[in-house]
């Protein structure tokens, strides 16, 4: 009986989320298509401008007609939507590659880079964040916060070039071009993890300090529970909600690709794909990316909510009451 009560709201919740996904997809794809249409250039113009060779008006018109760009906006969008509903995300207007194929090729690389950079970030930032909180206003706190400030203030492209310069060019420990090997994963992972670690050390510290100031901590310690046990069992668990929310935003952003890092390390992930598509106004590729991003954010929000549900009994109870 209890199990049914637990399951029904969750199923209804999932159904509601799926329904909202359709609305979100329609909204963002329409909006994106509209913005692209309003932009003063199109893929044909961008291609010809990049090549810099004058061609006749007739050739320009023929190229636009071939790409379907001569049709009214709503017809173009409806055509794209119709194909999308049939599982066809269209083809690149620049090189004819199917958009779904391009996504499939880029996705594993993005997932891998996201996974490794998030893992490194967690492994570094959680212990260091806890350490700075526990050792508040002592030398180790100041020192780690200074490093985290430096790490957070450096943009990832800057970190990328520094890493390449030091580890590839000077020390020659790692190659500049090694995107298809495990060794090639080290530098892009670090380039993403260093700024994120800088950010999360401070976030973990703040979350832990907030919990340490709660009366339940004093109560537990006064009842004779060891501070270490309180920290791990209660403080960390309560701080986890904040950290999961923050981390989910980073994961969503990473899954959308990290254009600067991907470009520098020649890592052909989603960021590389979308940068190229935006530069060339490649509508089908941009739309495919937008669909991916909408899916990612809806899915991540759902997973975060689900984790709240599992971690916090108050959320679970409110769902059951509703």
């Amino acid at each position: 009986m209890n199990r049914r009560i637990w399951q029904e709201p969750i199923l209804r919740y999932i159904a509601r989320r799926l329904g909202s996904l359709v609305v979100v997809l329609l909204g963002v794809t329409f909006l994106t298509y509209g913005l692209m249409y309003l932009s003063p250039s199109d893929p044909v113009e961008m291609l010809l401008q990049a090549q810099g060779i004058p061609v006749s008006e007739n050739v320009v018109l023929a190229l636009k007609e071939k790409a379907g760009l001569d049709r009214p906006f709503l017809v173009q969008y409806a055509s794209w939507l119709g194909n999308f509903c049939r599982g066809d995300m269209g083809q690149s207007l620049i090189d004819g590659q199917p958009a779904a194929e391009a996504l499939q090729a880029a996705l594993p690389k993005t997932l891998l880079l996201t996974l490794t950079s998030v893992l490194v970030t967690i492994v570094l930032s959680v212990p260091l964040g806890i350490l700075t909180a526990v050792r508040q206003n002592r030398f180790s706190d100041y020192f780690i916060r200074l490093l985290s400030f430096l790490g957070h203030s450096m943009p990832s492209f800057f970190v990328s070039l520094l890493l390449l310069y030091v580890f590839a060019l000077k020390l020659r420990w790692l190659p500049v071009l090694a995107s298809d090997t495990a060794r090639g994963l080290i530098l892009p992972t670090l380039a993403l993890a260093i700024p994120m670690t800088g950010k999360y050390i401070r976030q973990v510290r703040a979350a832990i300090l907030e919990q340490l100031g709660q009366s339940y901590v004093d109560g537990a310690i006064s009842r004779g529970i060891k501070p270490g046990a309180v920290l791990v069992r209660d403080v960390l668990r309560n701080a986890l909600m904040t950290l999961i929310t923050l981390m989910s935003l980073s994961v969503g952003s990473l899954l959308g690709g990290t254009a600067a890092v991907e470009m520098i390390f020649v890592w052909r992930g989603m960021g590389f794909l979308v940068m190229d598509a935006i530069r060339m106004r490649d509508y089908p590729m941009i739309q495919a990316f937008v669909v991916w991003m909408a899916l990612i954010y809806v899915l991540i929000n759902f997973l975060v909510d689900l984790s709240y549900h599992l971690l916090d009994p108050r959320v679970r109870q409110s769902l059951e009451v509703n």
Binding site: P40, G52, S56, V59, P175, V266
Partner: protein, 530 residues
């Protein structure tokens, strides 16, 4: 140490800113003419090595698709019937003889009989016919350029008829889109855009989209044994990474490097830098329909404010060759000395000229007015290397002679130009992609034509363009192209600033690859490292 610091400083600084040759003679050809990629190769299969080529722009390889033919030629996968030599003159490659009919409508080409495609099929007349017919069916530009009426094949001979006399047909056959491929091999069994079957020294072994292409030598290449054991073309779309990979020795040659790195590699004995003035000209469009710019005297003063020498040497780190002509000096119609009415750099003279024509600073704000109206110009451009810097320098130069100017940079400039919403636009055009002046001159200076954004109109120029479109004699074509430029620059309708020197960096000991004035000749059968 000092060099290291300079290197990182240069790198970080850069980051922080996050020819016709209308073949007139009805002649047999001389195969001793050295052509770009057809000289016999003497590669030794025992000792040859792998070659890695890092490129900024990586492309697919079906020559008929968009501009992908550039990749097909650049990577040594395909060849055209004719090539352009260093003077951008048409020279035969896969052809031994070529004749033009008396009515100027049919070219008959005698093909080499020792050329085979990568799949072993002979490149005969039927194969060439099928390749060209596939091309015009797929490529709008090619169809417009070639003006094909019919192609007939017979053995190793092919006759190409055009719908009207087409003096630039052979030039168009030099365009990378006209790379000869085995059209019958495009049967859907493989992606022809990745694995085309051409006649070049290298065959595509594997192609990873946006990443790399691995090429292996063609065993039966008609031009001899290719000199490299394999060629890997790597896509490196970040210029700093490309430079780092070159410095680190991970690639043997790099194309598409930032101009900031010219000194870095030029001063290092481990590398060789080859430069060539290309046909890409940096130029100014003047909007002749706008107030002030419609005044020829005013335009002349603007031209006098432009310091072309400094723009090429400073703004592009020495990679710009100042010019008076739309075409490089190596071409018969690119002789600067014949552009006699192009104003020299003379800011003081410009001030005097403006003052003498009623442009005065009446309100004492440092800027000129004409008939009580302040002179303000709108300068526009887009993001190609060197253009924003050129436009900003122009803005400063104009202000120096008292002309107020605003500056705007657009990601895509064509809509702004088509709407006429500018006074001066800095633009970079490839003026002779296949060695002929007609196309560029016609599109930019012919009345009402598509790229004539300044709305220039001169009946004399239109007449000369018409004559040029029908003229087969090379010398007469050059004379007309020169005359058109003389009139246009004399009218101060355009200002041609400088030609871009493209460059390529190779490791010491690399041979058979260097920057060519024709930007699509790179990997050849002779490309190799020691």
């Amino acid at each position: 140490m000092k060099k290291s610091k300079l290197t990182i400083f240069a790198m970080l600084l850069a980051l922080s800113l996050l020819v016709s040759c209308g073949i007139t003679q009805k002649q047999a050809t001389d195969l001793s003419v050295p052509v770009t990629n057809a000289a016999p190769s003497t590669g030794n299969p025992e000792t040859r090595q792998d070659f890695v080529f890092g490129v900024y722009n990586f492309s697919k390889l079906d020559p008929a698709d968009s501009y992908n033919g550039w990749g097909t030629i650049r990577y040594g996968v395909g060849e055209t019937l004719f090539n352009l030599n260093e003077h951008l003159e048409v020279v035969p490659v896969l052809v031994t003889e070529f004749m033009l009919s008396e009515d100027n409508l049919t070219w008959t080409l005698q093909l080499r009989d020792d050329v085979t495609f990568h799949n072993g099929k002979p490149m005969d007349g039927w194969a060439v016919k099928a390749s060209l017919e596939r091309l015009v069916a797929k490529n709008e530009r090619a169809a417009a350029d070639l003006k094909l009426a019919a192609i007939t094949a017979d053995g190793f001979s092919v006759a190409i008829s055009t719908t009207q006399p087409n003096p630039t047909l052979l030039n168009s056959l030099c365009d990378p889109y006209a790379c000869i491929i085995d059209a019958a091999a495009d049967d859907g069994s493989v992606d022809f855009n990745l694995y085309p079957v051409g006649t070049g020294p290298y065959v595509v072994k594997s192609y990873v989209e946006d990443v790399s292409a691995t090429l292996e030598p063609c065993a039966d290449y008609w031009g001899g044994t290719p000199a490299s054991k394999s060629v890997t073309v790597k896509a490196i779309s970040d210029v700093d990474t490309l430079a780092l990979a070159m410095q680190n020795g991970e690639i043997d040659a790099a194309y598409g490097l930032s101009y900031d790195t010219l000194n870095l590699f030029g001063n290092d004995e481990q590398f060789t830098v080859s430069q060539a003035a290309t046909t890409r000209v940096y130029m100014l469009f003047f909007n002749l329909e706008h107030e002030f710019m419609a005044d020829e005297t005013f335009r002349r003063a603007v031209c006098m404010a432009v310091d072309k020498d400094s723009y090429g040497s400073v703004l592009l780190n020495g990679a710009g060759t100042p010019t008076q002509s739309a075409f490089p000096a190596a071409l018969s119609y690119g002789d600067d000395s014949k552009m006699t009415d192009v104003p020299d750099y003379d800011p003081e003279g410009a001030r005097i000229l403006l003052a003498g024509n009623g442009y005065k600073d009446t309100d004492g704000d440092g800027f000129l007015e004409k008939d009580g109206k302040k002179v303000t110009l709108r300068l526009v451009t887009y993001g190609r290397t060197g253009l924003p810097q050129t436009t900003q320098a122009l803005q400063s130069a104009l202000q120096d002679i008292g002309i107020a100017a605003t500056y705007e940079q657009f990601e895509s400039i064509d809509a702004v130009l088509a709407a006429g919403d500018f006074d001066i636009c800095a633009y970079a055009y490839v003026t002779t992609p296949t060695g002929d002046p007609l196309s560029f001159l016609s599109f930019t200076t012919g009345t009402g034509n598509g790229a004539n954004y300044g709305r220039y109109s001169n009946p004399q120029v239109d007449q000369l363009l018409h004559e040029l479109s029908l003229e087969f004699d090379r010398d007469k074509r050059a004379a007309r192209a020169t005359e058109i430029q003389q009139i246009v620059t004399g009218d101060c309708a355009y200002s041609y600033l400088f030609h871009l020197n493209m460059f390529m960096v190779t490791k010491k000991g690399v041979r058979g690859i260097q920057q060519s004035p024709v930007d699509y000749y790179q990997i050849t059968a002779r490309t190799a490292r020691e």
